[in-house]
């Protein structure tokens, strides 16, 4: 529904009651990322810890959600258990269209449920249901029961946490519709702290469309651009795993806790290997015809006779990097087995894989011992990692509890910070060089998608600090606007500023269409102000020594260039928010 304000459902989980609230600011912050920050400023408590019951858990969609293809993602905003600062995490599945058709621009969940609960919202429905019997169940078991318990098959979205979230782990993700995730920065831990096992969003509303032919014509044109050209082919065909072999060839794929950047064993885990041997089918987020979700299978023989069960497991470049190259696992089916355990536990795969890679090297180096790990962790030994994942999810001892709060937290206690592959949070699967390391370490989400540092590294060989930081700042502003629409960033090549203006105008957001530059800057500034208000200091982000020890296709990493980039980018972030000193 097109409105010049935001229609927000604010639910107090302690009371099990909600209130539909009219929030102004549409023309200033658009929605999505901008709306998440706006709502955190309204409902969040910057001076209280992340697990204070009053802290909000926010899910926001954008002005174009559902109106155009690939406007199919949701922004989660919360104070993170990982760093106790403001955080965003993004996911698709059916979440965005379900919120659209439930007729909200955002959900804000405050308070703590008195019992383990499931929240059910729809356009004519609000219920907090006691589901104590689901507490302790993994993602698959709880998903099956939730699907049976609540109506709306096909047109609903089910968000749920596993044991890791129940343990309030900083590495716990929120599973969305089985194959997608609000993975990063501990959103699952926030749900756990709120006693919230699941959120069922029923998309049971519908809206009249604008009069005339302009909207369907523009939709058809956008749809054609997205599907009839080769622009989306890479996401559709091999999907993001196409990057695995390419990065390895470039000497830019992290191997065995980033002790190497290339390995001939890559053929066992390449996108091609997955597609040829393990790919079952594709799936899509609702509202996206691309279908980038690649689903493989994990098969287990449970009797000596030929008796098997199998599970379907989604895979992408990042999960393959985190459980494959980073852990020295070089067989695609071993990766799928490991991914399945991580899924069932409700852990963020990137954080878990990178943390266990550090633990493996720390054990090799004698920084920690088997008294901590309880298991003989060894690169390539995926069976042992499967058990370690469970230990990490449940926090079975002090070591795993600390590790689940972040690799650097464990390293601060045991040592080994020099080789912790952490860039704000556990690294993404790109060892492309100085600009990427800077962009993830200082990025607002600590995501490779905050800005295109990895692309800059590959495109521009010269070490020009000003040019690189100008690029990161501009890219971040533009992506902030896209994630306020909320577009899938895979569509960034199609949704130019001009096209976004056309889309906004045709559905009735003329003021936003006319002010994209100004609104982008407003959103960028608001997000950073919010992050800084919760304690972030970009000058204090440590980039561990390991990142300066690597060699890529460009040669040895330049530690001085990296340091200058970090200082300059940090200064520019502070200047943007008006907090620069001197």
């Amino acid at each position: 529904m097109i409105r010049d304000y935001f229609r927000v459902l604010v639910v107090d989980l302690a009371l099990g009651k909600g209130k539909v609230t009219k929030v102004p600011g549409r023309d200033e912050v658009a929605g999505g990322s901008g709306l998440g920050a706006l709502l955190f400023n309204r409902y969040g408590k910057t001076d209280r810890p992340w697990d204070d019951p009053e802290q909000p858990l926010i899910f926001a969609i954008g002005p174009l959600t559902g109106y155009f293809p690939l406007m199919s993602k949701t922004v989660a905003a919360f104070k993170s258990p990982y760093h106790d600062q403001y955080a965003e995490s993004h996911a698709g599945g059916r979440s965005a269209l379900a919120i659209r058709f439930a007729d909200y621009d955002a959900l804000v969940l405050t308070g703590r449920a008195t019992r383990p609960s499931a929240l059910v919202v729809g356009s004519r429905h609000l219920e907090l249901k006691d589901v104590h019997y689901l507490w302790g169940l993994d993602i698959q078991e709880s998903g099956k029961l939730l699907r049976r318990m609540f109506k709306g098959s096909g047109h609903r979205s089910i968000l749920r946490i596993g044991p890791a979230g129940e343990q309030k782990s900083a590495m716990a993700g929120i599973n969305v519709d089985t194959y997608r995730h609000f993975g990063r920065l501990g959103g699952g831990g926030v749900m756990g702290a709120k006693n919230l096992k699941a959120i069922v969003i029923i998309g049971d509303g519908s809206f009249p469309l604008m009069e005339g032919k302009d909207y369907p014509r523009l939709f058809e044109s956008v749809h054609r651009k997205l599907t009839a050209t080769d622009m989306m082919q890479k996401y559709h065909n091999l999907g993001t795993p196409a990057n695995v072999a390419i990065l390895n060839e470039l000497q830019a794929l992290p191997w065995r806790n980033l002790q190497a950047t290339t390995d001939p064993e890559v053929h066992g885990i390449s996108g091609e290997r997955f597609a040829e041997t393990a790919l079952l089918r594709n799936a899509a987020c609702a509202g996206c015809p691309v279908g980038c979700i690649h689903i493989g299978f994990s098969r287990e023989r449970f009797q000596t006779d030929y008796r098997y069960f199998y599970r379907q497991v989604s895979y992408d470049h990042e999960p393959i990097f985190a459980t494959g190259s980073m852990l020295g696992v070089t067989d695609c089916f071993a990766i799928l087995d490991l991914l399945d355990v991580i899924e069932q536990m409700g852990l963020d795969v990137m954080s878990a894989g990178v943390a266990l890679a550090w633990a493996t090297e720390a054990l090799e180096k004698g920084v920690i011992s088997a008294a901590e790990t309880l298991l003989p962790l060894r690169f390539g030994d995926h069976n042992t990692y499967e058990q370690a994942v469970r230990y990490l999810a449940y926090g079975v001892n002090e070591f795993y509890r600390l590790l689940a709060q972040g690799t650097l937290k464990a390293a601060a206690h045991y040592g080994g910070a020099d080789f912790a592959c952490v860039l704000g949070q556990e690294m993404a699967g790109y060892a492309t060089g100085e600009v990427f390391f800077t962009s993830q370490a200082l990025g607002l989400r600590h995501s490779h998608l905050d800005s295109a540092g990895y692309a800059y590294d590959q495109k521009y060989p010269e070490k020009d600090v000003t040019k690189a930081v100008d690029f990161l700042m501009a890219e971040e502003a533009s992506r902030s606007f896209l994630t306020s629409m909320v577009a899938c960033l895979f569509a960034r090549g199609v949704y130019s500023e001009e096209l976004l203006a056309d889309c906004l105008r045709v559905v009735g957001y003329g003021a936003l269409a006319d002010n994209i530059d100004a609104v982008s800057r407003t959103i960028q500034k608001l997000r950073w102000q919010t992050r800084l208000a919760t304690g972030f200091d970009p000058h204090r982000v440590a980039i561990p020594k390991r990142f300066t020890e690597i060699t890529t296709w460009k040669g040895k990493l330049d530690a001085e260039f990296l340091s200058t980039l970090q200082n300059t980018y940090a200064r520019r972030i502070l200047e943007l928010t008006g907090e620069a000193k001197g």
Partner: protein, 147 residues
């Protein structure tokens, strides 16, 4: 005369582009319900998708059940709908054996008109407009549709 069939639904990825196109182009709504074709996962996402769609019955039980003539038999199967005659009784939806008719909150029915406007929006070519030609063998057609 053509009818919409779903011969390759195993390829469906659950993007809902067909439903959204029908709602947008035929019913002028933003909706994944107010559409002649609606997609649901069959027993969870891990088992794929099914389409709720008119199978072009002839004779159509929904047309027989309609008390006001809003629904009438379409040549070649399915129904022709005149919404101005509809009294929102919901008898059509009750009569449909395959749950192909959606009633909105006011009782307004939405059913496939076999116009084919959804077909080009399916990225995996799951849908097809089948030309019935002059073939009189209604029974054969029905078997193919449901196969």
């Amino acid at each position: 005369m053509k009818i919409l069939i779903t011969p390759r639904l195993e390829r469906c990825i659950g993007c809902h582009s067909c439903s959204l196109a029908c709602a947008r182009l035929v019913h002028h709504r933003l909706s994944w319900d107010m559409a002649g074709i609606r997609i649901a996962s069959s027993g969870g996402l891990s088992t794929g998708f099914e389409a709720r769609i008119c199978l072009a019955c002839d004779p159509a039980p929904c047309a027989a059940a309609c008390p006001t003539g809003a629904y009438s038999q379409r040549r070649g199967g399915g129904v022709v709908v005149r919404k101005n005659l509809c009294i929102r009784c919901g008898e059509c939806a009750q009569a449909c054996p395959v749950d192909a008719i959606y009633l909105d909150i006011t009782g307004e029915p939405f059913v496939c008109l076999h116009c084919g406007q959804c077909v080009p929006y399916c990225p995996h070519d799951c849908l097809e407009m089948k030309d019935l030609g002059g073939a009189p063998a209604q029974q054969d057609e029905a078997q193919e549709v449901t196969a």
